[in-house]
């Protein structure tokens, strides 16, 4: 497994995820200077008003669970989560910037409740072709 940990980490989505080292992750967003709307990722135009006056911002690493579900079957396609499959929480996490981002939830699936305070966590995904990706999850903040 050592070759795996040394693999270069690619952002799971260019312009959305960045970080230094395998224990770090930051989410990037776009703030429209015209209508002030914030969207996730690095976008050339505002998804609300279409303006190209965009400022790149870092998004909060903490948020609140707005809604969630538990995925009980392996998702279709090239899912890179645990193998064998384990049911996992999936939620919309509201960030202070005024955007709700969809993200897998780390931890016991029965424990989640709407309104939970969450913390962003790095999540490294390994593909069958040897590539490794820097992805992200949210976990409940320890009280």
């Amino acid at each position: 497994m050592s070759n795996r940990s040394n693999a270069e980490l690619l952002p799971v989505k260019e312009g959305l995820v960045t970080g230094a080292g395998k224990d770090d992750v930051t989410l990037l967003g776009s703030k429209c200077l015209a209508c002030k709307e914030v969207s996730i990722g690095t976008n050339p135009v505002c998804l609300n008003c279409g303006s190209d006056q965009i400022e790149s911002i870092k998004l909060s690493s903490e948020g609140e669970l707005w809604t969630y579900t538990v995925v009980r079957h392996k998702p279709p396609g090239e899912y890179l989560g645990p193998d064998p499959f384990q049911p996992f929480g999936l939620g919309l996490v509201e960030l202070a910037e005024g955007v709700r981002i969809m993200a897998p939830l780390e931890g016991e699936t029965d424990a989640f409740r709407i309104g939970d305070k969450l913390q962003l966590k790095p999540w490294i995904l390994h593909a069958a072709d040897g590539k490794a990706y820097r992805a992200f999850r949210f976990a409940r903040k320890s009280s």
Partner: protein
């Protein structure tokens, strides 16, 4: 009926299910039935549209070859689950333009079993992270609705109970079995809180409509049904959390696509929710139907749970919904779905629906909603 009205003169349907038949076979089957019902010859059709999502290029042309030699145009149309509404709308526009007076609208689909191929709509990173399951989106909406309005598992199951019960009387449905509330609530969870007996399945099916002017219908005779409205929209910015969205705004909440499309359709038809006798709507999952009651204006926001629990959406209720059994029982061959809803609704307003007939149905609405925020609403009347 005014001479300028656009009408459906004939309908056809191939049962929904899984068949060892080609799209050409089931498409031509539905088309022939529609021509026969309309009492028009194949040579009377001047233009055609095919609603489909999963079929390959030139599928429309291939289906038409099965009906006999022709040189009329056919365009294959895709708007996810709303494809049928988009195709019917094109026929209405073509006839209204005066270029043609009679058109054929086909909805045909053949889909693999199980979850839909995620690469059709999702980005690779969503697939890698496990966010490419359509039911997960429906479930997250359900969880939020339960949190905000106190909607219960039993109320969600009541939708599935009603639709499975109605399906027993629909020979074109894939599943025609009644289930008890207990059966439904004990079926396994797909994505919490949505259970197996509360979701629809992808399958095969075909439906067809002959569309013409009221003037032409009078010449031909038959039993025309007026298209009072046919509207297709895509959801406004952050109006809807539906696949393949990866986020939504916490500051802007635009009117949802169902409410928006219905509002335009009510306006086009000059009708209000109380004027509509019955509805066929997008119950991809049982919860979805609860939200649709609210957005179509059948009840107040947040009241969808008590509405179904009170029997108001039953065939003998105030606003019957999914008399056909809905997508939960019929399955959802995406391209055929809305066209088949219209087939059902034509049958309802003609009074031909037998054991699933809504007494005295005079006006009916079909609604579909899916990926990309695509939504379509058609209103029919006699």
């Amino acid at each position: 009926m005014a001479d300028s009205d656009i009408v459906i003169l004939g309908t056809g349907i191939h049962p929904f299910g899984r068949f060892d038949k080609t799209p050409e076979e089931i498409g031509a089957y539905a088309a022939k039935q529609a021509l026969e019902d309309a009492g028009v010859a194949w040579s009377d059709i001047q233009t055609a549209y095919l609603s489909r999502m999963y079929l390959p290029a030139t599928s429309g042309a291939r289906i038409l070859r099965r009906l006999g030699g022709t040189d009329i145009p056919i365009v294959d149309i895709e708007a996810a689950c709303a494809s049928g509404g988009a195709a019917l709308r094109q026929a209405v526009i073509a006839i209204r333009s005066g270029e043609v007076d009679t058109a054929l609208v086909l909805g045909v689909e053949k889909m693999p079993r199980g979850f839909m191929d995620p690469s059709m709509i999702y980005s690779p990173w969503q697939v890698k992270m496990g966010m490419s399951m359509n039911p997960a989106y429906w479930s997250m909406r359900a969880m939020r609705h339960m949190h905000e309005f106190g909607t219960t598992d039993e109320q969600i199951a009541r939708v599935a109970y009603k639709n499975h019960k109605n399906s027993v009387h629909n020979p074109n449905a894939m599943y025609r079995k009644e289930f008890s509330m207990e059966d439904i609530l004990n079926s396994r969870l797909v994505c919490d809180p949505i259970r197996l007996l509360e979701v629809c399945a992808a399958n095969d099916g075909a439906a067809a409509l002959v569309v013409t002017t009221a003037k032409r219908a009078k010449e031909l005779g038959g039993r025309p049904v007026t298209i009072a409205a046919c509207v297709h929209t895509i959801a406004r910015y952050s109006a809807d959390f539906r696949c393949p969205a990866d986020s939504m705004s916490a500051t802007i909440a635009n009117v949802g696509p169902t409410a928006l499309t219905a509002q335009k359709a009510y306006e086009q038809a000059g009708m209000a929710p109380a004027d509509i006798s019955c509805f066929e709507v997008q119950d991809t999952d049982a919860f979805c139907e609860i939200e649709i009651y609210e957005e179509l204006g059948l009840c107040a926001p947040g009241e969808g749970g008590p509405f179904v629990e009170g029997g108001h959406a039953d065939i003998d209720g105030r606003s019957p919904v999914n008399m056909s059994g809905g997508l939960i029982s019929k399955g959802e061959p995406v391209g055929a779905s809305h066209v088949a809803q219209v087939v059902e609704l034509v049958s309802q307003v003609r009074g031909d629906s037998g054991a699933r007939q809504v007494a005295g149905a005079k006006a009916a609405m079909g609604h579909v909603l899916g990926a990309g925020g695509n939504c379509a609403v058609t209103i029919l009347k006699v």
